[in-house]
Amino acid sequence: MYPSTAVIEKGYRKQFLKRIILLAGLAVATVLSFLVDIAVGPSTLDFAGVLQAIFSPESVDLSVRVIVWEVRMPYAVMALLVGAALSLAGCEMQTIMNNAMASPFTLGISAAASFGAALAIVIGFSIPGIGGDWMIVVNAFLFAFGATLLLQALSSLRGAGPEGLVLFGIALVFLFNAFTGIMQYLASAEALQQFIFWSLGSLTKANWDNIPLLFGLFAVIAPFSLASAWKLTALRLGEESARSFGVAVKRLRFLSLIRISLLTAGATAFVGTIGFIGLVGPHIAKLLIGEDHRFSLPASILSGALIMSLASVISKAILSGTIVPVGIVTSLIGVPVFVALILNKRKR
């Protein structure tokens, strides 16, 4: 005997509600982390002062205004954006590759962005008309995007499928790392230092010029991701089943790859390489909420933003008054959360 539709419906509704609550919980945690991020800093400025500076900037003195608007806010907002972008990219990537190890790092997209940045820093190469401050950003973006197109071209060449895509991606990682190695070999000591600093990933590059750009990018792309949630869930069940549901798998993969590359390129261009978020963000989301992409995509966005925001808090707190590059901290805080979740899942 099969359970009646009423029972199934009830179960579904219960699960649905549980997932909504989990999403809301993640959102609340992210907001709290953001508030902590803008509330703490090496100066004596307290939370009330921060709020006053936010809501009536004219009423506080210049130091407070600058601390809140030029230091704390841009770092905190950038942390949310970068975490959200990388984690969303990672979630889509794991699905289209059908590989739990996939992340923008695994496929050479970050490596390509690094090489682009190295070209700008070491030999000052960029496309004509782009100069000064924007060279690194534009190069990182173009190379990340170019790498994705190359990846797509290679894998469609012989219909290699997801396994082929992963292997080509790994090949690209090594290729671009080698190119970057050559740049480092050629670099002057000063340029090398600059590049190393860039590649460690740091929120100190955030400002009100680049935040709207990344926000715009994310705001345009995320709806397309979410709109593809059904198809991605179908793909998660296997390529055959997805096809039988009428999903154009090849097209889905291609469009998804474009979104992934834009998100990764955008985030990397502005803050440098930040590892682990793209891998661990989606895993945390899926461990909490399951594989239904209507929920796991927004959950990935939130979990990525949350981890990155916590990392930002910690990077300021490790040595008060100094900044530890946030790229170092993301792994330090992401790994324990990740391991705890895996172990917890096992027990159940």
Binding site: G41, P42, S43, T44, L45, D61, L62, S63, R65, V66, I67, W69, E70, V71, R72, I121, G124, G132, D133, M135, I136, Q184, Y185, L186, A187, S188, A189, E190, A191, L192, Q193, Q194, F197, W198, S202, T204, K205, K316, L319, S320, G321, T322, I323, P325
Partner: protein, 367 residues
Amino acid sequence: MRTIAKISPLLLCVFFAMRLYGQPITVTDVVGREVTIPQPAKRVILGEGRQLITLSLLVPDPVAITAGWTGDFAKSGGLLYDDYRKHFPGLDDIPLIGTSGKETVSTEQIISLNPDLAIFGAGSHGPDAKSADIIRQLEAAGIPIVFIDFRLHPFKNTVPSMELLGKVLGREARAKAFVEFYNRRMNHIRGTLAKQPDLKRPKVYMEMIRGTAPPGSPGKGNLGEYIEFVGGNNIGTILPGEVGTLNMEYVIGEQPDVYVATGIAKPGEAGMVIGQNVYTFQTQESLAKLAARPVVSPLNAIKENKVYAMWHLFYDSPLNIAAVEALAKWTHPELFGKLKPHGVLKEINERFLAVPLKGVYFAELKP
């Protein structure tokens, strides 16, 4: 017996000639190694290419005695490097032993160049006192190494390094003249500060501007030591290492009295434009841009226009005396207002340097 009588005057001549010219030179370098070379070095390896500037304080044609070097001077030297090339066309023919970092250095290349001395920095971008493998291989090949240092402990090691170079290059008189010049100027600053028992130490915020990357600040070592030496209070001492990034919020909270930017950018490059053949307006433009960033706007130093810039490579050079005078002047104008850092460079140009330093090496932001 007769043969001996015949050749003995000859032997005597050879003996005295050897005493005069062939006396082996024994020195103790800055890391405490005792090194003996048979005669003044004529083919030297520079572990850091930029130390060619140091050699040119002592030797009229430093390029002629440089048998090999790393490529860092070409990359970091800006327009100064171009002037060296103009002055010494042979510069382009000096073989490279590596590009810039110590990992790029080929010991085989060094050995094949058949040098009679390698000059390394005790702590440097090139091979240094920690490069155990390179040291062992070169020693096994019979190539003596001396370590000099202007970077790890500039105030302790600059004088011994110059004396050491004077000896191994056979330019003792010249080195002595430089050391006297250097000590006289340093002692003036030391002495003046020693006479101020309750000296107020103004807070100094220094940024090392590197292209478009967020700037680093000196911690306890090197340029941080300069600031403390001239009676300033380096707000970067909270950093764990020699260089790091300060949280701008901390900087604003500290309210530094003096802001100093260092850089090596050429005109047209991103960063702090300063150095050889740079025009005053270019440095001013670059410095004004740094001072106009919203994030530094609340600093007293910016509000009161105590905004300064200097060429970065003084940090690893005996020319550090000019940087010390500039920092002293900026930090304690009431004590050192009369010092003229560019004047120091002028005197060094006239008395020592093979290729004069021209352009802007120090700047005060014009209001």
